[in-house]
Subunit: 231 residues, 2 copies
């Protein structure tokens, strides 16, 4: 196959959304993991629900609303002393450990990111992590006021990068995003990171498996560093 | 206020979706609760994802796919000996204990049901439970090939019942459905059943609280039998 561009999902794929656990635990003692999981689950739900309700709000607002929900559900009052540092952490997420090595090994190819995040969230994330060294284009679904897996999100790639959908390898760890990208017509690599033998949580069971939605990825690999071998 | 019709959600509101636990536990020993919760969470996710993907499949198919996901996630092979009786249970859900008394007390008013379920699922459910004695009209979102909370679902009510949206009291225990109905323009009663002091589960935390989506119900009541006092 000829791949003219690799397009990466951000949250969960290049960046570890669970990396904020280190910040959440001291702010919500004994409840850091619960808050982190509820936050992520509700954040995704709100992107889907707001799309269906036809009441788009941007991802910063969706993320804040989901955080308030998660804090209240965990019995923590969503005061600014808790909310502000947790929201800030979304601009400083750690890249997954192998991300830099993987992107460096793909150097010379057209590399982009397509994310639910707002333009500001994505540019800060790329700058703060230094991944802007390799990722030249950050596409935000905010331009179409819809969230993944709505097809209009994936349609941003072709015009922005000047490539045909069949020449795109889309890379995501999120199984619903894999389905969306595949339905749209990209080639798709699903990053399925091993849970490392830890006891599965309800969160892990909900989000860590292939969806039963009828669209399988072209490739399933355990890490971003397995991408070069696919090309 | 003048209420010309009461429109009920089915799954979770009139009918107890957790009532299949009694069937799930012997079929999936030690995993009945996990399967039941994953099944319901994934079923809702698939209604939202399929709506966004613009790949509608009806609720029977969505429910089956979600069951396969839930069984596999719980480490149970989705064989027909397990799948068939669990799917059948969706046609024989128990009404919530107070449903019959509540509907009887509302007698003489226009009572309808608006549900994600297919026409066949809804007619069997009503017949098997005897609630068709009070519920005269069952509206399925299948007519518009979209799922709640898409506005087109709620728009089915006005033409089918010949009432204005401002004259409808919509009744649901599902907080996303409350938001959808309220956004559309119905008056809304949220049935918020007490968890009864049981330790909250991740499922309960995700689904049992008001959403942070900016549309509050007009009424929050703990049981269907509190409806007559609102009229």
């Amino acid at each position: 196959m000829t791949i003219a561009a690799l397009v990466f999902d951000a949250y969960g794929t290049l960046y570890d959304v669970q990396s904020m656990l280190a910040k959440a635990e001291p702010l919500c003692p004994g409840k850091g993991e619960l808050v982190t999981q509820l936050w992520r689950l509700k954040q995704l739900e709100y992107t889907w629900l707001r799309s269906l309700l036809q009441e788009y709000e941007d991802f910063w607002e969706v993320t804040r609303a989901a955080l308030d929900f998660a804090l209240r559900a965990a019995g923590v009052e969503p005061e600014d002393t808790v909310r502000t540092p947790l929201m800030e952490s979304y601009l400083h997420l750690d890249p997954h450990p192998e991300a830099r090595e993987a992107l460096a090994a793909l150097g010379g190819r057209k590399l982009a990111m397509l994310s639910n995040g707002t333009p500001r969230m994505l540019s800060e994330l790329l700058a703060n992590s230094g991944l802007d060294q390799w990722i030249e284009t950050a596409l935000s679904v905010d331009a179409v006021r819809a969230y993944k897996p709505h097809p209009s999100c994936y349609a941003l790639v072709e015009s922005a990068l000047g490539v045909a959908k069949s020449e795109v390898l889309f890379v995501s760890s999120n199984s619903f995003d894999v389905v969306g990208a595949k339905t749209f017509g990209f080639r798709v690599a699903w990053i399925r990171r091993d849970a490392g033998g830890a006891a599965p949580t309800l969160y892990g069971m909900l989000r860590g498996r292939a969806e039963e939605l009828g669209h399988a990825p072209d490739h399933t690999i355990p890490a971003l560093t397995d991408l070069p071998a696919l090309l």
